[in-house]
Amino acid sequence: MENQKIEEFKQLIKSRLNKPMRYYLDVCTRCGLCYDTCHAYYGIPKKEYSPVNRAEVVRKIYKKYFRPSGKFFPYWSDATEIDDNVMEQVYEAAFSCTGCRRCMMFCPFGVDMPHILSIAKLLLIANETAPEELVMLADGAVEKGKSIDLFKEGYRNVIKDLETEVQKKLNLPSSENLIPMEKKGANILYVGLSGANSIVHPAVIFNSAKEDWTLSYFEAVNFGAFVGDPEKMQFIANRIIKEAKELGVKEVVIVECGTAFRIMKHMMGELPFKVSSIVEVIHRYIRDGRIKIREGSIKEAVTYHDPCQLGRNSGVFDEPRYVLKKLAGDFREMTPTRELNWCCGGGGGLVALDNEEFRIKSGKAKKDQIVAAGASVVVSACENCILQLNTINQGYGLGVEVKSLSELVSENILTGA
């Protein structure tokens, strides 16, 4: 590779050498405790899919350019120069990882793998070998943020159709204002996704609870984070923050999308509004009696898949269980569950890529868990997970039903209560 490009790569690595990165790059002793904790490794037992190996790919590059040992005595740490072959390893490391951070639970030092891989993703963007689907989606989201005024009218018109759907579901006389938009001073700004389901079901729930809410023009998902571009990630999240500030809402509620929730809740610093997941809001409504649901109406065995970004990485464990235990007579936990739950294999933007074979194989851990739980309905609270669970369901012919929590609640809501 030409020197100029290497220089550019070095600058990019340097830009990511923040405090956590310094700890994570230096603290690892390669004890190997994380070796088999990745779902991808469970499905495809190759060292390339072990967390420690992914980190080493980055670490060896870092040592080559930033550490005396790597510069003067590369043998010591097997420091490697960047070349095309190494860049392929970098790709393999970055985009076989879903960012679920399960390995972090088994690391005695608490090394945050996706944080290390943010260097890998940055190098791939500069090398123009980042997954083009993700680059495209991130660019689209940025463009949408820049020229939202052009799209507002078209979007509002389709939302009108959805209002009719909500009206039918709730048996209301009028569809007027069932999905409010641009409502200043509302309690809640709800941020959905592109799909109708991500708006209709929450709208049913909000209206039943008589919430003072408004719908965001933007989609919550952050492809800037998936592709690993910190600037686009910031921009995409800031679109929503700006909207929330302009409307002066008290709370921003994020759709069932783990990444979007974690970014807004934990990655953006202090914000002048509360950030909640729709799952937490549903729990709040049911607990406070603001909505009523048909308790025990689901007779089949139900299990819950903890989305990694919602559970382990954001701490929302009990709320979905509270709701599901009310709805389902036979609720079953997967083993392991909660913070040690296996990732389904869909996170990190992987579901958007043309990699179905890999995702079916790396979803083996999840498949085994679902089979062991003996459930016929698998509920989750993340669009990514739902997509991947469907891939697993079809790939292994499991014949289970995959549902989102908000869909389940909206279907079982008691109207006119």
């Binding site: 689209g140 463009e143 949408k144 592109s194 799909g195 708006i199 023009y217 669009e383």
Partner: protein, 79 residues
């Protein structure tokens, strides 16, 4: 009904986020410049996502139709 001569039809109804845009983008890469792709989707978000995508990827949405909750996007490959 539109009278536009369509080269490829895609049914993206009910697909979850972000697949519609991804599928369209993958499909349009296989086509030749000037050809037209018609994509049907039920995603309300598509009304912002598709134009934004078209703008960044250098394609053109020549027409949009709506029938009930199904939207049809006619996309012309420009480069």
């Amino acid at each position: 009904m539109s009278t536009i001569q369509v080269d490829v039809n895609m049914d993206l109804k009910g697909l979850a986020c972000p697949l519609p845009v991804v599928k369209v983008s993958q499909q349009i890469k296989k086509m030749t410049v000037g050809q037209i792709l018609m994509a049907e989707t039920t995603d309300p978000g598509a009304h912002a996502d598709f134009p934004a995508w078209a703008k960044t990827s250098g394609n053109e949405i020549i027409e949009t139709e709506r029938e009930g909750n199904v939207s049809k996007f006619y996309i012309k490959k420009l480069k």
